[in-house]
Amino acid sequence: MKKETEKTDNTEEKGRSLEENFEIIEDTIDRMEDEDIPLEEAFKLYQKGMKLLKECNDAIDRVEKQVLKLNAEGELEEF
């Protein structure tokens, strides 16, 4: 049962947009605002946040793109 939930979590993670990731990071930091949060949990949140930030960073592939054009055959070619 637990494994299944983890699995869906993972697939969701893959399809998340940058803004959804930012929202989760925002929420993560908010949850860390609680001073009484157990340190272990804070560490987990921190690691999760850092992982998401890395994902966001990786989502920007830093490769400059050529403009593409859809031709009549529905194929992509350089513009």
């Binding site: 990071i25 960073n57 592939d61 403009v67 054009k69 992509l76």
Partner: protein, 401 residues
């Protein structure tokens, strides 16, 4: 007797006569629509009237298809066509080629009507608007391959985020084939799975922008599963596409800004989050450390070592107090002693010596208080007030008392 004609022959004759008249062959007539009937065959039957007269009109389906708007009772129009005779009924009528709305103009009328129709269908309702993604990485563009619009979009998009992928569908954006081309473009880009689609063109006359007022284009935008930003003409141009799109951009340049996030801001945002996250973690750790320090000092107070230290401190303090007490007592005793000494001095026998009194003692200094203790020849010490004399006993005699 003159020749007899059939009714049909007469009607045909009149019809031929009329058809040879240049004016009646191509004529524009102004009037108001009445008795309007859209027939299921596609033909439109109506009357054209003014305050003095009425004329029957028909617009066949092939011509009616070119109508950009739907005619309405009482609408002021200019009908262009030819006058002909309907031989069966012996009636002449106006065969309409085109109908223009008078006053506002036909395009304005068509625009108003389509807007009303689609509005009633709910196509402009805010609940159908899809949110434009804040960080689109693939952007579809439906516009002309050449011209200012595509250049502006590419320039601004690649300046804001050179890592974003732009995919252009080169569309025909004005004229006869424009609406089909734009619709195909939206559908083709939808299939490529871009994050957002910009549909538009640069400025022009209302006729130039007309394709974006077509129902087919509006429906394609509405049906598109990917958010669509409309970008038609200038800021002052409003098209049906603008109303149905998920977001209206005033110009193609603005559309590029709305569709493409500035990558520098994105990276900055990322850094800010990272800094906040680290700072928060650090402060959580620091808070725990301070707490630990506090607990540790608390523990120290409670530990046996602490007790010992405190007992030692107390012992030292007690010792000090005792010392002080003792010194106090001593001082008091000294004081009392000196008083006693004064008193004793006052009562000293030496002071009483003189006036004939002496203190008599034997050689060893022991006091003599009876003659019985004395023997003849014994040495005596006589203490006077200001010195000592030695004497010898010559004779003793006990007196009766």
């Amino acid at each position: 007797m003159a020749r007899l004609y059939s009714v049909f022959e007469v009607n045909s004759y009149i019809g031929k006569k009329l058809s040879m008249d240049d004016l009646l062959n191509r004529i524009s007539v102004r009037g108001e629509i009445s008795n309007l009937k859209y027939h299921s065959s596609g033909h439109v039957y109506f009357s054209l009237k003014d305050d003095k007269a009425v004329m029957a009109c028909v617009m066949f389906a092939s011509k009616a298809a070119g109508l950009k708007f739907r005619m309405k009772e009482g609408m002021g129009v200019i009908v262009t066509g030819s006058i002909g005779v309907y031989e069966r009924d012996g009636k002449y009528q106006l065969y309409a080629e085109s109908v223009k709305a008078e006053g506002e103009g036909e395009l304005s009328e068509a625009f108003r009507q389509l807007k009303e129709k689609l509005g009633d269908m709910g196509l402009f309702a805010p609940e159908y608007k899809r949110p434009i993604p804040s960080y689109a990485s693939r952007i579809g563009i439906v516009t002309a391959e050449t011209g200012a619009a595509v250049r502006d979009i590419i320039n601004i998009a690649s300046r804001r985020n050179p890592y974003a992928q732009l995919i252009l569908y080169p569309a025909i954006v004005q004229g006869e084939y424009a609406k089909e081309s734009i619709v195909r473009g939206i559908k083709a880009l939808e299939k490529t799975g871009v994050d957002v689609i910009i549909v538009g063109r640069g400025g022009g006359s209302m006729e130039d922008l007309w394709a974006f007022n077509e129902e087919e284009v509006a429906m394609a935008i509405f049906d598109c599963s990917i958010p669509v930003i409309s970008a038609v003409g200038h800021e002052t141009d409003f098209t049906i596409a603008d109303f149905v799109a998920d977001l209206r951009a005033p110009t193609p340049s603005a559309a590029a800004e709305l569709a493409v996030a500035d990558v520098r801001e994105l990276l900055k945002k990322n850094e800010t989050y990272e800094r906040r996250l680290k700072k928060r973690m650090d402060s959580l750790i620091e808070m725990r450390r301070l707490k630990a320090v506090k607990y540790m000092s608390g523990l120290k107070v409670l530990s046996p070592q602490g007790k010992l230290l405190r007992s030692r401190d107390r012992a030292a303090a007690t010792e000090e107090r005792l010392n002080a007490l003792f010194l106090g007592i001593l001082a008091e005793k000294k004081h009392r002693f000196s008083i006693l000494l004064e008193k004793m001095k006052a009562r000293s026998p030496l002071d009483r010596l003189g006036g004939g009194y002496v203190y008599l003692s034997d050689e060893k200094g022991a006091g003599i208080s009876s003659v019985e203790a004395l023997s003849e020849g014994e040495k005596l010490r006589i203490r006077l007030r200001d010195g000592v004399a030695e004497a010898r006993v010559e004779k003793t005699e006990k007196l009766e008392t």
